[in-house]
């Protein structure tokens, strides 16, 4: 069952006299009916008092405070300190309405008695009621700031807070009764959670068998937040940090090295009679072959030569980008820290 309730303050139902109803103009029909009901109750005319109260409850102009006063008289008349006149079931139903309207409702001495207080306490334990006590104005600063909405329920219940406007429903926070505080960040992902303007805050408490809803009007005003774009790292400008493998050029190098060895051994010969007496040193050809094959091994060994100059240039580039990005982030953080969101909650 969804009811529209605006329960504000613990003091609202703390005392019956002077009742808010008595502050109403004397010509108010609800005030006159309430006075008549009270007179009938005082004259022990409980049935008459009940009828007048029911009539008063049907008045379209009845205020919340007047409704509380009427329900108190009605419950007292339904469960007086007279066993013959007591109708506890009816009184319990009236008290349930009273508790839902004000979960801290009590009876003044002139109306209540121990039995009625006991019945009220019993009804309160079995009735889900929700009270929300918002601070009227809250200023939230920075990206981590949050505005709060304290609440109470008469029993353990799941409590959720949403904001509604033009059919849009934004979930804001959740909590758990009987006592709690709904905490709502002003920003989410650096963006105001709610656009500036008027919203309806809907606080709902839910137990398996019952539910309660309180609606509040709220106005949000957030500073305009413009963030600088964080520069992206352009990967296309990086230089290769490793050269291409030498590949088949190693074979050419092997041929040159081996050929030079063989040519050197064959060409650097002494004149006669040495040259004619002895041939070319045959070991040189073995070395030539070994050098050719060994150099050719680079085809398999080389995975690309390190290019430290390029690696340093790339590292410098990354560092420069990181420094520039950090400056932008710092500026954005500064703007975020200075941003203020004002929340004004009314009933």
């Amino acid at each position: 069952m969804i009811r529209i309730l605006c329960t504000v303050g613990l003091a609202a139902g703390a005392a019956f006299a002077p009742s808010p109803a008595t502050a109403q103009p004397a010509g108010d029909p609800v005030v006159r009916l309430l006075q008549s009901a009270r007179t009938a109750f005082d004259d022990l005319e409980y049935g008459r008092a009940i009828s007048i109260c029911r009539l008063a409850l049907q008045q379209p102009t009845i205020t919340r405070a007047q409704r509380l006063d009427v329900l108190r008289v009605l419950a007292a008349a339904q469960y007086p300190n007279d066993p013959d006149a007591a109708r506890p079931d009816s009184a319990a139903r009236t008290l349930r309405l009273l508790v839902k309207l004000d979960l801290d409702a009590t009876f003044p001495r002139t109306l209540g008695w121990r039995g009625l207080d006991s019945l009220l306490a019993d009804v309160r334990t079995r009735t889900l009621a929700l009270a929300v006590v918002p601070a009227s104005d809250q200023q939230v600063r920075g990206g981590d700031g949050a505005w709060v909405l304290p609440f109470r329920t008469t029993m353990a219940a799941d409590v959720a807070l949403t904001a509604e406007r033009n059919g849009a429903v934004v979930p804001l926070a959740a909590g758990r009764g009987p006592d709690g505080v709904l905490r709502v960040p002003a920003l989410r992902d650096r963006v105001p959670l709610l656009a500036n303007g008027d919203w309806t805050l809907v606080v709902s408490a839910r137990v398996p068998a019952d539910s309660e809803v309180v609606r509040l009007a709220a106005t949000f005003a957030s500073d305009s937040l413009v963030f600088l774009p964080v520069p992206a790292l352009d990967s296309t400008g990086f230089k290769p940090e490793r050269a291409k493998p030498i590949g088949r050029r190693a074979l050419l190098a092997g041929v040159v090295l081996g050929g030079a060895t063989a040519a050197m051994a064959s060409g650097l010969r002494a004149e006669d009679p040495v040259r004619s007496a002895y041939g070319v040193d045959a070991r040189a050809f073995g070395v030539a072959a070994a050098l050719a094959v060994g150099a050719g091994m680079a085809v398999f060994l080389d995975k690309g030569r390190d290019l430290p100059d390029n690696a340093k240039a790339n590292a410098d580039r990354r560092a420069t980008h990181a420094r520039e990005a950090a400056e932008v982030v710092a500026e954005n953080d500064r703007r975020l820290a200075a941003a203020v969101t004002t929340v004004r909650i009314t009933r």
Partner: protein, 224 residues
């Protein structure tokens, strides 16, 4: 990577610091091309020469120690070679060269002290030398090829020698380990000398040296 490796190998750290100190006086681009290399090679040697009027062959095993320190624009290269050949002949070379130019093609100029020591006679030459050397990486494999050629001209000659000149060629393949400043080298060096004795008698000589060994190399250029 170097720092982490250096904690495990203090000698590497010291060598790196020494190289860095050496590089302190030169621009960063030159440091990027820097290399410090120490090489020790076994050198099985064959020498063909003239004894009296007849050609004779001497074989034996020698050793070579080389030290190279260079930046982008050049450096210094020192080489010591010695071989004990059969029949009591010994050959020793000591080179010092200034290197000019980048690794892929550098000009070298210097002087060689060459000595032949035998049971019958000994002689000692000083030769001026000039040549070209190219050291080129084979991608990022850790392999490097080396080709060099030099010409030598006698500067100080022993008694009885009127002229001396020579040619030298060398090729090698170097492979440096990826995570350690260690390399291995295999190659071949050929030398030929034209020696004219007094009285216009010719005493030519040639030598073939197989080089096999390795060493340590530091610096950015050594890793390429």
């Amino acid at each position: 990577m170097i720092a982490r490796r250096s904690r495990r190998m203090p000698w590497l750290r010291r060598a790196s610091l020494a190289l860095a100190a050496l590089a302190g006086a030169v621009p960063a681009t030159a440091v990027a091309q820097a290399e410090f290399r120490v090489t020790a090679l076994s050198a099985p040697t064959v020498r063909n020469g003239v004894v009296g009027t007849a050609a004779q062959q001497f074989t034996g095993t020698g050793g070579t120690v080389e030290v190279l320190a260079r930046f982008a624009f050049g450096g210094l290269h020192v080489r010591s070679f010695g071989a004990d050949l059969d029949r009591g002949l010994g050959v020793a070379n000591l080179d010092a060269r200034v290197v000019l130019g980048p690794q892929w093609l550098s000009v070298e100029a210097g002087r060689t002290q060459r000595a032949l020591v035998g049971e019958l006679a000994s002689s000692q030459y000083t030769l001026n030398r000039v040549g070209l050397r190219s050291t080129f990486p084979l991608g990022g494999s850790g392999l490097r090829g080396m080709i060099g050629a030099w010409s030598m001209q006698g500067a100080t000659l022993p008694t009885g020698v009127r002229e001396a000149s020579g040619l030298e060629g060398e090729t090698a393949l170097l492979y440096r380990l990826r995570r350690l400043p260690v390399f291995v080298q295999v190659g071949y060096r050929a030398e030929s000398y034209a020696v004219t004795l007094n009285g216009n008698r010719s005493a030519p000589e040639e030598m073939g040296v197989l080089t096999l060994g390795g060493g340590f190399s530091f610096g950015p250029a050594a890793r390429r």
